[in-house]
């Protein structure tokens, strides 16, 4: 005997069983399922029989409803759409044979629903089985049969689903619900199912409730009752809104909620508005005669039985599918007794606590709040005595389940029944439970959306959402803020570069020679004197100790001096303590040659002794034993300079006629002065230094006795030397060439430093002031 797989939980069941042994879901499909049942089959179950296009249009209608629920505001309900669906529904397989039992004037769609329900409505086994001993009263049984099958189906399916939800719910709480609890949950479940039916209906009704203009006195409302509004005795009942006229027990619905719902009501057909009005409105607890004329017969009958049978309120479907009006009343009263937010008793809070205990932040925050809402909804009914305790809950189709509006809205309409005040004046004199005028006005604001929800104050909700964002943002990678490409320092650098380059280019372009060269300086005069006094074919040791970076300044300062020595026919011995020295020496000789046209070439005129490693100690070693330390020249033949060139006349450095050092570094200058000068025995030492070394070398020149016999300092020194020897470098002196550009760009630099410094100083003072104000405030 093959097993059948349950459509709901997928577990295998013996073939003969109709309901799943695990989740009580229906396994054996009912023969000839009505469109409503197909429509009700849970989403995701095996696809319904192919009913051609009907399924799509029905889905369309429901999607529209579902969307309107998701968007939170009720969208204007398109009557044609509803009507078509409705109509289509009505056309669905109306069994010709079956006489419609409905009274004239009943809309086709309802009658067809009713006929379908009658065809398929075998007694739901579970309901009977679960039927408690209470026998339906004979008066009821006739109405029962008239109850449309589709409503009874809602009840049975609802029972199945709720059963699952309970297990799930219990599972979430971490413990198997005990038998007593299960009963309790059953009870709650029945309360919920009746309530959810009322919700479904109230929602439907909600779409039909006419606009209530609260600003107008009730009497006026009576004449202008829009279609679909039923006057029950003195109360005007608005479907989906409740009683507008003053009856204490009648739930008061905030006007604005009514106004919200209002736009949709005109389109719903009268019969439905009537049904909803009859079903949704809560008749006065005692002695309120419902105005049965407009009600459809089946509802009207229901109304009658409710009036007679006040005590035996039978939840929908409990006593053999009798749709008594009382069950609706019960829902409303239940809503009254524990209106959301005011009178939640500790045990309901307890339930909520349990729910919270599940760990609110396990899933998404809105799930938690939804669950909390669900649990608070279940807990909302402890006080209500359910007659016949073990009545099985009505079964709602899943599409209805999905459509269930946010319960909070329903809860809002619970009417505070304990308010026993009797009107003393005005047209409503003698009436009880008259709605206080000002609350309505005062409540003209949108109702607190979370009426029946967990008691979460605004700040708690804010904190919860903040914490949620924090948790979410933790995982997101944060972009490292890129540094802005253009900043004020960047602009300032550009301005400096542009000002300097344009100033220099202007002078170079115009080739101006207007700015006078510096006059003769004492140190320059001494230097030229020493060179003038050189003997013929003198031996000069030239220390080339500057960096290529400062070649611009050093060559401009030394070119005229070197040319002067060349003109005297001196033999130059180049030496350096830096590795780039030899190449710079060659560059200097070539530059002087190109400027003056006085070509100094070959080992006959100068010898490049190369590089002395080891800085001061290398210099000291060279000063003590030059022939051992630098035996060869760097020319291609690596000539032995001390034997094959004029240098052979010099045994040591004292043998030279002049030692001239060109350096930009004060340390190197000091090294020459401290290591070499003591061994010169009277041979003059002159220095061509950079402006940056002046403060440290000048004392040696000013010393007494002088340790440096002559000095040329930077571009100004070179200019002064050229000024005193106009014939040198054939008048093409580098100092003269650069001097005008130098004097203008120095001025530009001074202006830039002064203005920039002032702006930064002011900015700093302002920031300091702002900082001190902030500190004082703190």
């Amino acid at each position: 005997m093959a097993d059948v797989r349950c459509p709901m939980c997928g577990k295998p069941n013996p073939e003969e069983l109709e309901l799943c042994q695990f989740c009580q879901a229906r396994i054996k499909p009912l023969e000839g399922r009505s469109p409503a049942e197909e429509f009700n089959s849970p989403i995701g179950a095996e696809p319904p029989l192919d009913t051609g296009g009907e399924q799509d249009s029905i889905d369309e209608w429901l999607n529209f409803l579902r969307q309107s629920e998701d968007e939170g505001e009720p969208r204007p309900f398109d009557e044609e759409q509803l009507a078509d669906w409705m109509k289509e529904d009505l056309d669905i397989k109306m069994p010709e044979s079956q006489e419609p039992l409905e009274p004239e004037g009943t809309p086709d769609w309802l009658s067809s629903l009713r006929s379908i329900a009658d065809e398929d409505a075998p007694e739901p086994p579970d309901v009977e089985k679960a039927q408690p001993a209470v026998e339906p009263s004979p008066a009821d049984s006739s109405e029962e049969n008239e109850v449309p099958g589709w409503l009874s189906k809602l009840r049975s399916r609802r029972t199945a689903e709720e059963g699952e939800a309970d297990q799930e719910f219990a599972f979430q709480l971490g413990e198997e619900p005990k038998i007593s609890e299960q009963a309790g949950i059953q009870e709650d479940r029945s309360a919920i199912s009746t309530e959810s039916v009322s919700d479904w209906l109230s929602e439907l009704r909600g779409e039909e409730a006419p606009v209530v203009d609260s600003s107008q006195p009730p009497e006026l409302v009576q004449e202008e009752l829009p279609a679909g509004q039923v006057e029950i005795g003195e109360e005007v009942v608005q479907p989906g809104v409740g009683v507008v006229s003053q009856d204490e027990d009648i739930p008061v619905v905030e006007a604005d909620r009514a106004s919200e719902i209002q736009p949709q009501t005109e389109e719903i057909p009268d019969w439905l508005a009537g049904i909803v009005a009859g079903g949704a409105a809560v008749a006065a607890a005692e002695g309120v005669e419902a105005d049965l004329d407009n009600l459809p017969e089946w509802l009207a009958d229901l109304e009658k039985s409710s009036a007679l049978d006040r005590e035996e309120i039978v939840p929908f479907g409990e006593e053999g599918e009798e749709l008594t009006f009382d069950w609706l009343q019960t829902q409303v009263r239940a809503g009254q007794e524990t209106p959301y937010g005011e009178e939640l008793t500790s045990d309901t809070l307890g339930t909520e606590a349990d729910t919270r205990g599940v760990g609110p932040f396990v899933g998404d925050l809105s799930d938690f709040l939804e669950e909390a809402e669900l649990s608070s909804l279940e807990a909302a009914q402890p006080g209500v005595e359910q007659p016949g305790g073990d009545l099985s809950p009505a079964e709602l189709p899943t599409w209805l389940e999905a459509m269930r509006p946010v319960d909070a809205a329903a809860g809002v309409y619970a009417i505070d029944a304990q308010d026993g005040q009797v009107e003393s004046s005005g047209p409503l004199a003698g009436m009880q439970g008259v709605l206080p005028a000002e609350p309505e006005i005062a409540r003209l604001k949108k109702p607190a959306v979370y009426a029946l929800r967990l008691q979460v104050t605004e700040s708690q909700r804010a904190h919860a959402s903040l914490l949620d964002e924090l948790v979410k943002s933790e995982g997101e990678p944060k972009e490292i803020p890129g540094r802005p490409a253009v900043t004020s320092p960047y602009l300032f650098r550009l301005i400096i570069f542009a000002v300097l380059i344009s100033t220099i280019l202007w002078q170079v372009f115009t080739g101006s020679r207007t700015s006078p060269l510096p006059g003769l300086m004492p140190e320059t005069f001494d230097t030229s004197e020493i060179i003038d006094n050189l003997p013929e074919n003198a031996l000069v040791l030239l220390g080339v100790d500057y960096d290529p970076a400062l070649a611009g300044e050093m060559e401009a300062a030394a070119a005229s001096l070197v040319d002067h020595m060349m003109l005297k026919g001196a033999y130059l011995g180049l030496v350096s303590t830096s590795s780039t020295g030899p190449a710079l020496g060659e560059h200097l000789i070539a530059t002087v040659g190109s400027l003056s046209g006085n070509r100094y070439q070959g080992i006959e005129m100068y010898a490049n002794l190369g590089y002395l490693p080891g800085g001061a100690s290398g210099l000291q070693a060279f000063a003590q034993a030059p022939r051992q330390v630098a035996p060869f020249a760097l020319d291609p033949e690596t000539t032995a300079v001390w034997s094959n060139t004029p240098l052979q006349a010099a045994q040591d450095l004292a043998g030279f006629d002049l030692v001239a050092v060109i350096t930009d570094d004060s340390d190197k200058a000091r090294a020459w002065i401290e290591q070499v000068q003591p061994t010169l025995n009277g041979t003059p030492l002159i220095m061509v230094i950079s402006t940056q070394a002046e403060p440290l070398v000048r004392p040696y020149y000013q010393a007494n006795p002088k340790q440096v016999d002559g000095m040329v300092v930077g571009l100004a020194g070179g200019g002064s030397y050229e000024q005193s020897h106009q014939d040198l470098l054939a008048g093409n002196g580098l100092a003269r060439k650069y001097w005008d550009a130098f004097s203008l760009s120095v001025l530009a630099a001074v202006v830039l430093i002064a203005v920039g410094g002032f702006v930064n100083l002011v900015t700093n003072l302002l920031n300091a002031q702002k900082q001190s104000k902030a500190d004082k405030k703190r």
């Binding site: 300097l500 560059h587 490693p613 080891g614 402006t691 403060p695 440290l696």
Partner: protein, 226 residues
């Protein structure tokens, strides 16, 4: 040895003192250092010549260290080349230019024609351009000084810079008498306060050099021996 002075924020140090296990390197450094030092201060001719020889040998070994430096440079950029990315292109340029220069200058000698061509066409223009860019950097730094550290020192520093620059060349061809020239304010500033300050700084630096050198010679600091 306990620490004589614990400056906040840096924690004290237990080792680094005279660790009893003196490695061979420390012994070599201390021995040769003391011999050379003696050569400076003891007027014995043998010591003086020994000092000269030891100093000359150190120059030869220092040149070998230059080759080890070139090897280190090649190794760092070789790893960058193998790692890939934009930096590898630059490392390739460095290694290529290094090898080409070694070959050409090695063949023609430091003052050979092609060697001088490389020096005058590549090294000389780049290095003097970097020095030219320094002018922009120095103006920017001097102007930002008042924002970085607003105190008397910075104010005096800025004033000295402006006065010396104004006095180093005529303005629009006009030589400002009290500022420019050998007897001007600029020369006065350079020859008196600048010389005094420079001397004081040099003497201070010399004292620091002696203290640091002695610490190394007695083995308290041992930067070698890795």
């Amino acid at each position: 040895m306990g620490s004589g002075c614990d400056h906040p924020g840096w924690g004290s140090i237990e080792t680094g003192g005279a660790d009893m296990k003196i490695p061979v390197a420390a012994a070599i450094a201390i021995a040769f250092g003391l011999v050379v030092l003696a050569g400076y201060f003891l007027p014995l001719p043998e010591l003086v010549s020994l000092r000269t020889i030891l100093v000359q040998w150190s120059m030869i070994i220092a040149s070998t260290a230059l080759f080890v430096g070139v090897a280190n440079l090649l190794r760092v950029h070789w790893f960058k080349l193998r790692k890939g990315g934009t930096a590898s292109a630059y490392s390739f340029l460095l290694i290529a230019s290094l090898l080409v220069t070694l070959v050409v200058v090695g063949l023609y000698g430091p003052t050979g024609s092609w060697s001088l061509w490389i020096f005058n066409s590549i090294q000389f223009p780049i290095e003097s351009s970097l020095m030219a860019i320094l002018a922009v950097v120095l103006i920017y730094s001097a102007a930002r000084l008042m924002r970085r550290r607003m105190d008397l020192f910075s104010l005096l520093f800025g004033m000295a810079v402006l006065l010396v620059l104004l006095g180093s060349a005529p303005i629009f061809g006009i030589e400002i008498p009290f500022l420019y020239g050998p007897d001007g304010l600029r020369s006065l500033i350079v020859q008196i306060p600048a010389v005094a300050g420079a001397r004081g700084i040099l003497l201070g630096v010399a004292l620091g050099t002696i203290a640091t050198g002695l610490r190394i010679l007695i083995g308290a600091d041992r930067p070698y021996g890795g």
